[in-house]
């Protein structure tokens, strides 16, 4: 059975390590914050200038001067800090962020990603996505395995304009955990009850399968 978006987030949270600084994109990635293991020290980075994103505020504590990169009102954690945009992206570009999680339209088996522009539709802009994918050491894409029409999102080549090349390291979809290796996609885990064949069928590129593929442990 394919994962819910909450389960995708939960699985991604297993990639976190103590002491990590993490940037979570809009959508499913944001949900990862809800599954940080208790007692683990993970600091969330918001590219508009905040380290230490806290939960949404209570109604009486809403502060228009305190938002995240999705322009939502937030709070900050103890030991958090605020800074300007150029320093915020110095953290990203300089490789100081340990993990970046973001969504995608398409991902290739070379780690290319398209996520910002659909020709013919209104172009809103890339925001910080190009900076993040070009610079982060460790990029995980959180996505459904296929789009609304059932077309594979994991492919040989992106059909949409690129956000970055050779950058994605891992994909956690509703069907599988897939690593991007020098030889292409490699299946690491299956969603509970989802077969290897289903994953292969719904992926538009070869997948390396080595031995038994375990189910995710959620």
């Amino acid at each position: 059975m394919s994962l819910t978006k909450y389960d995708i987030a939960k699985r991604i949270a297993q990639e976190l390590k103590d002491g990590y600084y993490v940037n979570l994109g809009i959508g499913i990635p944001t949900l990862v914050a809800n599954y940080i293991p208790a007692g683990m020290d993970v600091t969330l980075h918001s590219e508009n200038g905040l380290l230490g994103i806290g939960p949404f505020p209570k109604k009486e504590n809403v502060d228009p001067d305190l938002i995240n990169a999705g322009k939502q009102t937030v709070t900050y954690t103890e030991g958090g800090s605020f800074f300007d945009s150029s320093l915020s992206f110095a953290m990203i570009r300089g490789g100081h962020i340990n993990l970046t999680v973001l969504g995608a339209f398409e991902v290739t088996d070379k780690g290319d990603i398209s996520s910002w522009k659909i020709p013919g539709k209104m172009v809103k802009g890339m925001g910080g996505a190009m900076d993040l994918v070009a610079a982060a050491e460790n990029i995980i894409v959180a996505t459904t395995h296929t789009d609304k029409n059932g077309n594979p999102k994991l492919k040989k080549e992106c059909s949409l304009p690129l956000t970055g090349v050779n950058c994605v390291k891992k994909i956690v979809s509703d069907l599988a955990v897939i690593e991007i290796t020098e030889k292409g996609f490699k299946l690491l885990e299956r969603a509970p009850g989802v077969s290897v064949d289903e994953i292969k069928e719904k992926t538009d590129a070869p997948i390396i399968i080595e031995g038994d593929i375990p189910e995710m442990n959620l």
Partner: protein, 230 residues
């Protein structure tokens, strides 16, 4: 020489059609509300506006867009504005989309006298078209140029009569770098104090970067997405 001016109208009076203006803020957070309203009233046209976002319909930069005062917009994300969308799709407004970190760094570089620098963002994408690419230590980069503007409009939390500025929380965002990059930088502040009252160790923007400063008023501080927890 006093940097103190009375209000936003005085700040913008010399702005001419066709000039470039940087405007601080991220979404509607930390935008120079008074200065935007003043340039709206002033009516200057064919402006080149540099701002991370383009406001919303009828507020922030959206006001200038509605009045067709903007010829070109340089931004990283412009999606929250129907009138902007219309002008963009019809080709009435020119739009230059820049990756957010590259935009911030280009502005800082402009203020710091660095004419160009290399970044990885955008390599292999359409952002790289027409740009010089180059390898350093086995990784590919684009050359990006520093950026300055005729004016920078910034909004700070506190400021003093010497032009020193302090920001609050995420209302800093692009304001700090833009303050460095305006040929004329005008700051509006929520609280204006005499020189000497701010802790000299805590200044985000030293006064050398600020040519004019005034006490802002009637801040609306609209919120785009009010998200709350129980």
């Amino acid at each position: 020489m006093s940097k103190l001016i009375n209000n936003a109208a005085e700040a913008v009076k010399d702005i001419k059609d066709g000039m470039s203006i940087m405007l601080g803020g991220f979404g509607l957070c930390g935008i120079p509300e008074n200065l935007i309203n003043a340039i709206y009233d002033h009516g200057a046209k064919d402006l080149i506006c540099i701002s991370n976002n383009a406001g919303i319909d009828g507020f922030g930069l959206g006001k200038l867009l509605n009045k067709r005062q903007v010829k070109k917009m340089i931004a990283s994300y412009v999606g929250e504005n129907k009138e902007f969308e219309r002008q963009m799709l019809s080709g009435e407004i020119e739009v230059d989309l820049v990756p957010q970190g590259t935009l911030a760094e280009r502005i800082r570089a402009g203020g710091a006298g660095i004419p160009a620098f290399y970044v990885p963002a955008g390599y292999g994408t359409e952002v790289a078209e027409g740009k010089e690419t180059r390898s350093f230590n086995g990784k590919m980069y684009l050359m990006e140029e520093g950026m300055t503007a005729d004016y920078a409009f910034v909004k700070a939390w506190k400021g003093d009569t010497k032009g020193n500025l302090i920001f609050k929380h995420t209302a800093n965002n692009f304001n700090q770098a833009m303050a460095m990059a305006g040929k004329i930088t005008i700051a509006e502040v929520e609280e204006l104090v005499p020189a000497g009252e701010l802790d000299p160790n805590q200044i985000h923007v030293p006064g050398i970067f600020v040519q004019k400063i005034f006490q802002g008023k009637d801040y609306e501080k609209r919120i785009e997405f009010e998200t709350i927890s129980e």
